[in-house]
Symmetry: C2
Subunit: 119 residues, 2 copies
DNA sequence: TGGGATAGTTACCAAAAAGTAGGAATTAGG
DNA sequence: CCTAATTCCTACTTTTTGGTAACTATCCCA
């Protein structure tokens, strides 16, 4: 068991996949990067991702914060205000992520078989 | 429901994630790309991914084949022989994937909090 | 008094993903 | 006749993921 875990820790691909290879993380990173000043509040992100539930957005942001890809700034106000932005590490990921998106757009038709039902 | 699906089909990030953002796909692509002549048999891949079950490898290869990223060549022999290799589309993905892996190696320490238990 | 706004959390449930174990098919080798 | 090798498939079970709805707390506004 410990060996398997060590293997996980050593494999860079799994690092990547386990950190932001889920349903919403890349989308959040992309949205934060695309925003004008790089800073968005919780409900601003939510309005841009209409089919992501509040719970999932909350979870995703927390996970990205724990991975030091997203910075979370809380203002002690009522009603509460929380601002999210990319960290330097998060910013450094964007060129790679954008390349991935560009590839995806370019090869869309080769890859996607419209007969396959998607999850 | 139809709107949500249309949105999925339109979003390049979800295209990416849904095609090879799962637990094993990137690893298979990486292994195929790293092999000497780019061709590997089922059990050769399996031996390189010791903690991936036979079922999951089979499923992953099938999914990658359906996405036209991996080519599957069957020899009508007994016992059966099947060879897997990257398609041209699959090969075109590798620079991006390698960039992702390089980023992951470079920023490993910034991202990974060793206190978090990984799946 | 009673919403509305903000940024969540929690409990509960359904669906999907993944692991385990076993089988199928075929022929060669002992 | 029994086993091994190869590439799967199927049934069953567990784990993970994601969705819904309700709840928290506080202040402003009417």
């Amino acid at each position: 068991m410990a060996d398997v875990k060590a293997e996980y820790l050593a494999c860079p691909i799994r690092q990547v996949v386990s950190r932001f290879g889920d349903k919403w993380s890349m989308l959040v990173l992309y949205i934060l990067n695309s925003s004008e000043d790089g800073v968005l509040r919780f409900n601003e992100i939510r309005r841009l991702m209409t089919d992501c539930s509040q719970k999932m957005l909350s979870q995703t942001l927390k996970s990205l914060e724990q991975s030091h890809l997203v910075h979370r700034k809380v203002y002690p106000e009522v009603p509460p205000r929380v601002e999210y932005s990319l960290t330097d590490t998060g910013k450094s990921l964007m060129p790679v992520l954008n390349a991935l998106i560009a590839w995806s757009k370019e090869h869309f038709n080769e890859v996607v078989d419209k007969n396959i039902v998607m999850g």
